[in-house]
Symmetry: C2
Subunit: 712 residues, 2 copies
């Protein structure tokens, strides 16, 4: 397993915790980016800040300014912040490298996103940076903020005010806007952000680099990502898996590659979007996927504050039923349940007079308005739930008294202590406006994640539970299978022929050599040869046209099934030749494939494709109508583990079909999982562009690949 080498780590350390900073393009004008950046740098408390101003200004914001980078009286300036026009960047960056630059932030736009010239400039920048071992954040970025070093390398000086305490959450965002919106949500929640990095155009710092850095960053407990698109899904995936193995990684995705679309197209033409492949990679790497900035923040927050629950049973404490009902709906949809309270808990709820006499002790524990008026009751109940073996986590719902002088404040610290002692996470839906700063600060100090609605509290708890299950997944993949030398030789032969599309019997031979069960298939070059092949195979047989020019055989009359005897075979052969000649007049015909009829059973599809960004991708779905009508398929990057394959199997909507509907025998899931694993290794090992085992028929406790298409 790769990771980050020492030199790269040192460069990142210097970038994030510089001793000295130069602001190139520092401006005297308050409304210019170069002024914002200088103010941010000055708010950083870094040892030396050197404003560079080509216009000859002598001082900006109380600091001596320099007319050029060369003029800076320091030969080891760690960090350069560039706020000059695009045309000055390359030269400036060269000068910075000469000044011992370790890291740079380039705010300026007009590179990769702006036509061929911009792309060329960015490539040059990358080459210079890579050679010098310098890490560039950007171009076209908001920059970064690091609470531990207090380095504010953005054009938002206010970040230094918003986050005065060091935090444990690192947010890495492609977009400065999403980082900004996210930072405001964290600030509103009184949760300190640890590190905020906007990658922008990613000249030479990619998500994969950040993940490798953060995996071992002692200041990062939780990683939150916002991704619009990835150039190299495979590299991201590998780094994400490494990082997610040691700390939780939450991801919000938007804007997808064409990968999923392409995989889908190879099967039916219009099945799924690229989102499917992204989501598959996220899931497979053990990332926690979320669907909005708000959910990203909510989830990172609870992960930074709470221990994972040991199980899925939640105890709800409330003074009002409605929000608890909403929370319960969300918990249930996420696989969590309201735990059954133990008799001891129920008895104590009654005997201690916690509940009013008309309220039976049950989960949710409904304290009614008495709980609103006396919040100490929440702590009493939490202490009972802490002892209850049937409860793994607590969710409290309570309205702030909104400053009413006759209601005592919620004893948040006692509540937090009780939760911490129990080792069970507790979350609160705190009904207060977010300008109730003191109340929210109290929750943060108590180590309890507080949310403005019961739904968001429940969703956050559900994500905490998902994260704990991701951590439990088996991490080690089985070694790849040893394919026989015969397979490699055969593939080499086929490739040397220069053909792209294999014939069916060839594709099946490849599968066969890889240990995948196929229906024995013989190529026959005429009616008589077909007859003797059938005699050898045994009737009934199926007959299919063999032509590298025909992808969809049945569309041109190229498939005849259930041929019971020689007479039927001969008739079918003649008919097929006649129809195919009419419907596919230009096609080169290699003959026909003869194969035994596969017993009836449940028809599935297993296949895959090679995506330019994600590499080999394996796919599984139910056959026919399921794929065509609702695109019900699951994807993963190949190769997959058996655990991955099992997840794929549970992911499809029509999973009930596998259990055997209408008296059909259930599909043997072990065999199916092993088949998916085998196909995924085949895709990973050989340069197959597209593979489509369709249908694979599951029958008699095993399976047979009845038809297969493959191309290089």
């Amino acid at each position: 397993m790769e990771g980050m080498d020492k030199a790269a780590r040192a460069a990142f350390d210097a970038l994030f915790s510089p001793r000295s900073v130069a602001v190139v393009g520092a401006s005297t004008h308050g409304g210019k980016v170069g002024n914002f950046v200088l103010r941010s740098a000055l708010a950083s408390g870094v040892e030396e800040v050197y404003p560079v101003h080509a216009g000859g200004v002598e001082e900006i914001l109380g600091r001596k300014a320099y007319p050029s980078i060369e003029a800076i009286p320091d030969d080891a300036v760690d960090l350069f912040l560039f706020a000059v026009p695009q045309k000055h960047i390359l030269k400036g960056f060269g000068a910075a490298v000469a000044k011992g630059c370790r890291g740079a932030v380039i705010f300026t736009a007009g590179f990769r996103e702006a036509g061929e010239e911009g792309r060329r400039d960015q490539r040059r920048l990358k080459a210079m940076a890579d050679e010098a071992g310098v890490k560039i954040i950007g171009p076209n970025t908001l920059g970064f903020f690091r609470s531990h070093s207090r380095m504010n390398a953005t054009f938002m000086p206010v970040l230094s005010d918003l986050f005065r305490e060091p935090g444990s959450i690192t947010l890495v965002s492609q977009s400065g806007g999403v980082a900004g919106f996210g930072a405001i949500r964290f600030a509103e929640d009184r949760i300190p952000v640890g590190t905020l990095v906007c990658l922008g155009n990613r000249a030479n710092v990619e998500f994969a680099d950040m993940l490798d850095y953060l995996a071992e960053d002692p200041h990062t407990r939780v990683v939150a990502l916002f991704i619009e698109g990835l150039d190299d899904v495979r590299r991201f995936f590998d780094a994400a898996r490494r990082c997610a193995a040691v700390k939780p990684v939450v991801v919000l995705g938007a804007g997808y590659t064409d990968a999923g679309r392409k995989v889908a197209r190879s099967h039916t033409g219009s099945m799924a979007g690229a989102q499917a492949v992204y989501e598959a990679a996220f899931r497979q790497a053990g990332l926690l996927q979320v669907h909005s900035i708000e959910e990203l923040v909510d989830t990172a927050k609870i992960l930074s504050l709470s221990a994972p629950p040991r199980g899925n049973r939640v105890g709800v404490i409330t003074h009002t039923a409605g929000p608890a009902v909403l929370a319960s709906d969300i918990l249930a949809r996420s696989g969590l349940v309201l735990g059954d309270l133990s008799d001891a808990t129920k008895e104590a709820l009654v005997s201690k007079g916690v509940l009013p006499s008309f309220m039976p002790p049950d989960n949710p524990v409904d304290l009614t308005t008495f709980g609103y008026l006396d919040r100490r009751l929440y702590v009493e109940v939490l202490e009972l739930l802490a002892e209850d073996p049937g409860v793994d986590a607590a969710l409290a719902v309570c309205m702030s008294a909104l400053g009413d002088p006759h209601v005592d404040p919620f004893p948040a610290d006692a509540f937090g202590r009780a939760a911490a002692r129990s080792g069970k996470p507790a979350v609160v839906a705190w009904g207060a406006p977010s300008d109730a700063h003191e109340e929210l600060d109290a929750w943060v100090r108590a180590g309890v994640a507080a949310y403005p609605t019961a739904e968001r509290a429940a969703a956050a708890l559900a994500n905490l539970h998902r994260a704990s299950r991701l951590q439990e997944r088996p991490k080690d993949a089985a070694p790849p299978p040893e394919f026989p030398a015969e397979l490699s030789d055969y593939v080499a032969d086929l490739r040397s022929s220069g053909r792209v599309h294999l014939l069916e019997h060839e594709a099946k031979r490849v599968l066969d050599l890889a240990g995948i069960r196929t229906a024995r298939t013989v190529l026959a070059s005429g009616e008589d040869e077909a007859v003797s092949a059938a005699r050898e195979i045994g009737y009934p047989v199926a007959l299919k046209i063999a032509s590298q020019d025909i992808a969809h055989k049945s569309d041109v009359g190229g498939v005849a099934l259930h041929l019971a005897d020689e007479e039927a075979l001969r008739r079918a052969h003649r008919c097929m030749m006649e129809v195919v000649a009419r419907k596919a007049p230009g096609a080169r015909l290699e003959g026909v494939c003869v194969q035994p009829m596969v017993p009836a059973g449940t028809e599935l599809i297993v296949g895959g494709t090679r995506d330019p960004q994600a590499g080999p991708v394996v796919m599984f779905g139910l056959g026919g109508i399921w794929v065509e009508a609702i695109g019900d398929v699951a994807f993963r990057l190949a190769p997959v583990t058996e655990a991955d394959a099992r997840e794929m199997i549970t992911e499809i909507q029509g999973t009930a079909v596998l259990d055997g509907l209408r008296g059909a025998p259930p599909v043997e899931r072990d065999a199916l999982a092993r088949l998916i694993v085998a196909v995924s290794h085949l895709l990973a090992r050989f340069p197959i562009q597209e593979l489509d085992c369709n249908p694979v028929i599951f029958h008699d406790g095993t399976y047979t690949v009845a038809d297969a298409r493959m191309s290089f």
Copy 2:
């Protein structure tokens, strides 16, 4: 169409705008509900407030207190607020009625929710109130707050501070907690709530009553509902439809009846939850369904501020791409699109220097950091979009400068004016913490709905669009069909037999008389009769066992298809009798049904059931595996209009099946819609408990009900 009579309306008017108020159980102790209630009443600015305190206190909070209701020196006290223990309520309410009470709020719990005794007390309360024409909010409620009359009849005096301005949104919630959480969200958004009503136990004021009142309430522009459960779905539905016809109604549901479950059970045993029927009723009534308190508030807010868009084409203005990508994802999923900018708009964006030179004019209009620094650009772009015929609505994404003195404030008023002039809605994702009160107030004053993230802004705009489409739905149902007298007579005959389950040929005769195409089906009482029936019908035929004791004929060998001739028929009949006798030994056999084979085609299910709360419910789904594996069905309350039926058809997931997969001819949607309408009227007109046309085979441009089950 019913509605609310004058007397009831007058009672509600008195309840919501009382001249005088009595607080029964007013307490001197700051932490008691009776003290909170009195403080709320005193904050109301109502003419007279009479504290009633049985303990002989002479004055509370500066007001003279009375030892009993009888002692109040006013014989026309409009509103009574009860904060006394449960056991005193009935007597107190009687005394209140004698004092001329028009409305009452009963905060006290311990009624319907608390066992048989509580339920009895609530029934008594209702009887007394109904007789006296008094409207009761509660028991077990937070009460209500009305901004127009300033009446605060809750135990949250702070509501009077939170909402000092009259608002146009009415929130009706079963739960006080959800109302409270919602009110806080509105307050945080600086949006005044108009009326807040918590129905609690609903002694004699139901959602239906409130909807009828609000339909004509001049102070209500938007209705928001939180519903945990309904006793009478049908009554709710009728009132909701009336109200939604004149103003938008948003609904958040949680906690469902068994209705949907039951409908589902009649088909496969475990198909869908009751949620399906609730959601169907909401949709059919024209309500806008949402899924969280936050979405309820967000949606009510935009409905109260913005005109509906005339189309689905959105123009996005931003200074940062990421949030715009997130917004676009959400818009796309909701059926909205990014409009193509006109050439005139593009030209102006360039020629006016709105965009930086490296940024092509496109949608989203990305102003880059220049837009962050100079917010006047947003107004310029909005003015261009206002003139652009390809844009129906605008979504702006912008970060607050968070108090940075070097950035001018966003010209929210100019932006709002430009939007108002254009008649196109504009919404903004405003990146600011919610304690930026001045900024949020500016947006409200400008009449622009502002949201803390791009996703929520996009979702709100999508809901505004949904609402405008709901308003466009045809409102008038076709008159019910005139069924022939023969049908009524036949149903009466069948019912007089006392049997619950009809035989197949009887069910089909009912359908036939209702104008629904069925396969002609003859009951034969032995092999010879079957043979002569088949001769008359014409081969091939199907044979099915006829027994009121057998619901699932094929499970007991009671179905034989494709019988080509007499010999096959006789063999099948003998075999069927043998197998059925073995598999269903106790069943009474009436004979066999003989019917022609229906041509092959697409198999669907149309049926329905009678729910105790919702009445007749019609159901449509794809046949077989679709229903069994993923419960892919749509429901509506019967009868339905053709527009409803068409909606049902588009609602199912596997709708592509109807378009004809794998060369199958498409299902004739007009015929399908008419069939659903006909079945719905049959269910509405006759006391059918369950009806299951399964399968209905669509073939040759028409359909045939191949099998049917019906019970009374």
